[in-house]
């Protein structure tokens, strides 16, 4: 069972889609809920039709520009949000005065539901990608910020003292100890942060845009085209999985120095 786990996982997927297809079939199941036999497929769509839409998107090439836009927004939101979070996290982590001053504001801004800012960003940055990037940044920033802030305060005092004794000045201490240590904290929140950047991009598109996968879904919903909506959701999910996989690869490359739990000590 263990060895062929993926076969079972795929089988599960096939089973779910088959059941979905069968249950949504008009008149296959006696219409005890809805008087109209086509209702089930109207509400839930049909996997066959959904896959046809996906296929047409990819074979016709219509989807690529939308995916590209969403990817751009996600990447920009992540990079800008992470850089801001890293910088401000380091600053506040190292300066007790600044941190005491800003603490209530940071808490307040983090508590605020940032999705409501989306319309404001649209007014400020227009309907292009930047309003989505801005929304993503507000989501990514706090995740990275809190991780870095915590990380800076938990840098091992022995490592710090040792580095001081080796002759590091304040700037070198930042570069040799605080920054690498904080970076490892950024990476530990990487999966969440990239996920948040993606959420920001899609929600932003959904609320008002002319391109992007979120826009596709929003358009289809306007036309009650449930199959296209599900096709969009499917593409988004697959896209998120690919992103997550890419993040995993980057993480493994950049954090080679971190002990892996299963790794034995080499003598």
């Amino acid at each position: 069972m263990r060895r062929h786990l993926w076969i079972w996982q795929v089988a599960m997927l096939v089973l779910i889609f088959t059941a979905w297809q069968v249950l949504a079939q008009p008149e296959l199941i006696p219409p005890f809920v809805w008087e109209n036999p086509n209702r089930a497929s109207f509400f839930f769509g049909e996997p066959v039709k959904i896959f046809r839409v996906v296929w047409e998107w990819f074979s016709g090439g219509a989807i690529y520009q939308h995916l590209w836009v969403t990817l751009q927004e996600t990447a920009l939101a992540f990079v800008i949000g992470a850089a801001l979070g890293l910088g401000i996290g380091l600053w506040l982590g190292l300066s007790p005065t600044a941190s005491a001053l800003f603490d209530p504001y940071i808490t307040a801004m983090n508590a605020m539901p940032r999705v409501v800012l989306a319309p404001i960003f649209m007014v400020w940055f227009g309907l292009g990608i930047w309003s989505k990037v801005a929304l993503g940044v507000t989501l990514v920033f706090f995740i990275v910020f809190f991780n870095v802030y915590q990380g800076v305060r938990e840098v091992s005092p022995v490592v710090l003292n040792n580095t001081v004794m080796l002759g590091a000045n304040r700037k070198q201490l930042l570069r040799y100890v605080y920054l690498p240590s904080a970076t490892s904290w950024v990476f530990s929140s990487l999966h969440t942060a990239v996920g948040m950047a993606f959420v920001g991009a899609v929600v932003g598109e959904y609320l008002g845009s002319a391109r992007g996968v979120g826009y596709l879904i929003q358009q289809a919903e306007g036309a009650f085209d449930i199959n296209t909506v599900f096709a969009g959701i499917l593409v988004l999910t697959a896209f998120a999985l690919v992103l997550d996989f890419a993040v995993g690869l980057a993480e493994r490359r950049l954090l080679v120095w971190r002990p892996v739990q299963s790794e034995t000590e080499q003598m």
């Binding site: 004794m165 690498p180 971190r258 790794e263």
Partner: protein
């Protein structure tokens, strides 16, 4: 000749946390370490041994008295001292080589040259072939060797060692002690070696200083160790002179150790 390190009635009092009384870790310590001398400081647990080292390192400012380094009163980080800590102090995100070159990089030595010198030092502590390993990929003993190379590459005039080998098993520990003696005798520095292990102290040092139990620790005895060098730390423990010295020092320490033990126990109970 001026002493490498001179404590002149040094007192260290830690400010209290809300409510508690201030804690005096060491009081009126006067002690001299000559240039090139290997001095061990022994004392019961929790008696402020590390506090003394931190004062020499400049990580702590004495609340009273003065510390002189080669005759000069000193404040701030002691640039002439190298410090080997008890717990893990390597930068986990740098390889063994990167850790050893760090000090040279801070001093602006060119990268090629510092790498060459670091490779040479890693070879001297027996770590050739492990240059690209990260600390977590090295064993405890290898990490200590890396820390030793990291400190010695800067050629400090004073070595401060805070129970550096206490986390190692006894065999590795004796190996490391012999290696330390070998490196030290090739280029004699002043060493202040903190330990709670009397045998380690005697087998390594020129002089053993015994501290009283804390708080307000002060030296209560000094013993010159006249054992011949070069020494093998495992063999020298079996010589009659070693046993005699051990007896004498232990006798003077015993009371303080019991005192320290009673205090620790009381602290646990209360």
């Amino acid at each position: 000749m001026t002493a490498a390190v001179e404590f002149d009635r040094v007192t260290v009092t830690f400010a209290s946390r809300a409510g508690a009384a201030p804690y005096t870790a060491v009081k009126n310590v006067s002690l001299e370490i000559a240039d090139g001398e290997f001095v061990s400081v022994v004392g019961p647990t929790g008696c402020g041994k590390s506090t003394l080292l931190n004062v020499v390192a400049g990580l702590l400012k004495p609340s009273g008295g003065q510390l002189r380094v080669f005759g000069e009163p000193h404040g701030g980080i002691n640039r002439r001292a190298g410090y080997m800590f008890q717990s893990e102090a390597l930068m986990p995100w740098r390889t063994a080589l990167g850790n050893v070159t760090a000090g040279l990089e801070f001093r602006g030595v060119d990268s090629r040259q510092s790498k060459d010198r670091a490779r040479d030092w890693l070879a001297r502590v027996g770590l050739t072939g492990f240059e690209d390993h990260y600390p977590h990929q090295l064993s405890g003993g290898m990490r200590k060797r890396t820390a030793l190379a990291q400190m010695l590459i800067l050629d400090p005039q004073i070595l401060l060692m805070d129970e550096p080998f206490s986390a190692l098993d006894i065999q590795t520990r004796q190996l490391m002690e012999n290696e330390l003696l070998e490196l030290w005798s090739a280029n004699r520095k002043s060493v202040i070696f903190i330990t709670h292990d009397l045998e380690e102290a005697i087998s390594l040092s020129d002089r053993v200083v015994v501290l009283s139990a804390g708080p307000a620790t002060r030296p209560i005895g000094e013993f010159a160790i006249d054992l011949p060098r070069p020494r093998d730390v495992a063999e020298i423990r079996l010589t009659p002179r070693f046993i005699e010295l051990h007896d004498r020092i232990w006798h003077s320490m015993k009371e303080e150790v019991l005192k320290g033990y009673a205090q620790t126990r009381n602290r646990v109970v209360s």
